[in-house]
């Protein structure tokens, strides 16, 4: 049952006021002697942006490295089901001819052909998955992050048909037995809902960069505010040609590749 209007206004009002207060990591308070749950002085400020985006710089991945995938999947309790049929993943590494079939050609240097290219949700400017969702379980935030509300998803998989990037996974079975070391800071999903990369919005809210970005020792993933001319990602994009997956579809993907 929903709160009454009066109650809700009260909650919404104070919550909005709470936005002004800096949020913080839970355990920080323990040392200050305050109850663990009450918010004390801020440890880190939330990262905010007008438009989050990511750039992937190619040619740096050591052979067989899966650090970005492992970091993402253990952070978000992504199950390792181990068969392609029921597979769930948020980020993957694919060969260039699969990611950029239009750009790949036989005369590309061998190194480029073998290059692993990270693929994840593109957090589109104009996301088809959001357009087709019959319950608004997937939606786009003002800062550009395309979110999933796992409380609301009915598992119709229209979004999976609509996504031109294959970024979404369905929980064809109960994921819990396939999560080796659950991270209590992040929920799991139930069987029957669709999931995908969330640009680590839960970490950004605590002022921490996305798990894949931090996990990459080669610093091949750059994350930042596209609207901020002084951000790392803008500096990087300002240096030369970057490409995006299937831009001709008009989805406005926000993962930029420099290969």
């Amino acid at each position: 049952m929903a709160p009454t209007r009066r109650e809700f206004l009260k909650i919404a009002g104070v919550s909005a006021a709470g936005l002004l207060l800096p949020p913080l990591a839970v355990h920080a308070a323990a040392q200050t002697g305050k109850p663990a749950t009450e918010v004390g002085p801020a440890q880190r400020r939330a990262f905010t942006a007008k438009r989050w985006a990511m750039a992937a710089v190619g040619g740096q991945c050591p052979a067989g490295c899966r650090d970005c995938i492992d970091a993402c999947h253990s952070t978000h309790n992504v199950p390792a089901i181990g068969n392609p049929k029921d597979d769930v993943h948020w980020i993957g590494l694919e060969r260039i001819e699969r990611v950029f079939p239009a750009e790949a050609h036989p005369r590309l240097p061998e190194s480029l052909k073998r290059l692993p290219v990270p693929v994840l949700c593109n957090h589109c400017e104009n996301p088809p998955c959001v357009r087709v969702c019959p319950t608004k379980a997937t939606f786009k935030r003002a800062d550009g992050i395309v979110m999933m509300d796992y409380h609301r998803c009915i598992g119709c998989r229209f979004c999976m048909a609509a996504c031109p990037y294959g970024a979404r996974s369905m929980n064809y079975r109960d994921p819990r037995p396939f999560i080796r070391k659950p991270n209590p800071e992040f929920p799991t999903r139930t069987k029957g809902v669709v999931e995908k990369c969330n640009f680590c919005e839960e970490r950004l809210a605590r002022g921490v960069l996305p798990a894949c970005v931090l996990a990459c020792k080669e610093k091949a993933l750059v994350f930042g505010d596209l609207e901020d001319p002084r951000s790392d990602i803008r500096t990087l994009l300002g240096k030369g040609l970057s490409i995006r997956r299937r831009p001709e579809l008009g989805t406005g993907p926000q993962i930029y590749y420099l290969l």
Binding site: P84, K85, D86, D87, V88, E94, E97, R98, V99, P101, V119, P128, R131, V132, C133, P134, T135, K136, A137, R152, C153, I154, G155, C156, R157, F158, M160, A161, A162, C163, P164, Y165, G166, S169, M170, N171, Y172, R173, D174, T190, K191, G192, V193, V194, R246, L249, G250, T251
Partner: protein, 383 residues
């Protein structure tokens, strides 16, 4: 009137029992699916819609085809259809119930189905499909039942029914158009991204639905004392012939655009469907059968001598129905996903539980058709 469905011959009883058994079997496997998840089906990350959604798509067509009886009778006063418009409406009722059931059992979280109405999303085609399908169901139940009731009493149907029946005509077009838009509006799936998806759907619907009706009429003539009449059946056969020809024409038009332009994003899908890709020829073999059946049936339907021969007409109609079921109820949905956005060719093979559930829902639909038609035929025999 419903009590008429409860009394019947031994054959009728056995038939109903068989359908009930198959439905129960489907329900049993659906409970297993609820417990295990949709992983019990052959669906995968790459091919995320399969048999269930394909049946839904095909059956929306069967439901919409009632309009092929209603339109000539109510707009053009084509008397020969007077006796069988109710059959069309009742077939639509059963088909829509099957559609809705197929969509429901395809949900990963059926317990949350009400979210579609709790958080209405007018931007989603699926939202509109739920609205138009349920509306169509309601219209057909009300009109079919009211007209039958009036027939029983020997009075003309009440005046308010006619506008509702007229409304059912554009509504029928809308259900299949909206269903086509589910596919035709997706930017990343070259196979479905075609403006003639809705016309194609309608053409194949107006062939498969009336073909089924002809089969039912011929069956009723044999099993009961109800005869739809030579004229009605032959007119239906003509409709099937035209619709089938149009349907084949539309597919050929697609093939031209795809293979003459040779855009890989469109071509690969079509090649997978008709010839197979990299040794994956499962669907292509079915499609070869569908093409064979469609052309053979078209020949039987076009030549007047064979069309007027009842056994051959029945054969042709069965061929049409099967061919279009393969094309729409199998090929169309799966091929949209192959190759995947990451250029993978994932094979999709329905599993046994998936087939059992699908058969269960078909049995449920047939049961509804049987019961409604039993009421109809019993009343006709009393008149």
């Amino acid at each position: 009137m419903l009590e008429k469905a409860l009394k019947g011959s031994v054959g009728y009883g056995i038939w109903v029992a068989v359908l009930l058994l198959l439905t129960a079997n489907g329900l049993f496997f659906y409970l297993k699916q609820l417990d295990y998840g949709l992983g019990i089906t052959g669906l995968s990350r790459d091919v995320s819609w399969g048999l269930y959604i394909a049946q839904f798509t095909f059956l929306v067509g069967v439901a919409a085809s009632a309009v092929m009886l209603v339109l000539p009778y109510y707009l053009h006063d084509y008397k020969a259809f007077g006796k069988i418009t109710i059959l069309g409406e009742f077939l639509a009722v059963a088909a829509v119930i099957m559609c809705v059931t197929f969509v429901f059992i395809d949900l990963g979280r059926p317990d949350r189905v009400a979210n579609i109405l709790l958080y209405p999303s007018p931007g989603s085609v699926l939202f509109w499909d739920v609205i138009v399908l349920n509306g169509y169901l309601l219209i057909n139940i009300v009109t079919g039942w009211t007209v039958l009731e009036s027939d029983k009493k020997g009075v003309p149907p009440p005046a308010w029914v006619k506008p509702l029946i007229i409304l059912s005509i554009p509504w029928a077009i809308s259900i299949h158009t909206v269903t086509a838009f589910i596919y035709a509006g997706l930017p990343g799936r070259g196979f479905w991204l075609t403006a003639i998806m809705a016309p194609r759907f309608l053409a194949s619907a107006f062939a498969s639905g009336p073909a089924l009706l002809i089969l039912i009429c011929l069956l009723l003539k044999r099993l009961t004392r109800f005869d739809a009449g030579e004229k009605a059946v032959q007119t239906l056969a003509t409709i099937v012939a035209y619709a089938l020809a149009t349907s084949i024409f539309f597919v050929l038009v697609e093939l031209f655009t795809v293979y003459y332009s040779q855009v890989p994003g469109h071509m690969h899908h079509m090649t997978y469907l008709f010839a197979g890709l990299e040794g994956h020829t499962g669907i292509a073999r079915w499609m070869a059968l569908a093409a064979l059946l469609a052309f053979a049936a078209l020949a039987l339907l076009i030549i007047p001598r064979t069309r007027k021969n009842e056994p051959l007409l029945a054969l042709a109609c069965a061929g049409v129905f099967l061919a279009l079921w393969i094309e729409k109820g199998l090929g169309l949905v799966v091929t949209g996903f192959v190759p995947s956005p990451l250029e993978r060719i994932a094979d999709y093979t329905p599993t046994l539980p998936e087939a059992a559930i699908t058969i269960g829902i078909w049995a449920l639909g047939l049961l509804i058709v049987t019961l409604l038609y039993k009421v109809f035929v019993s009343l006709r025999q009393e008149l």
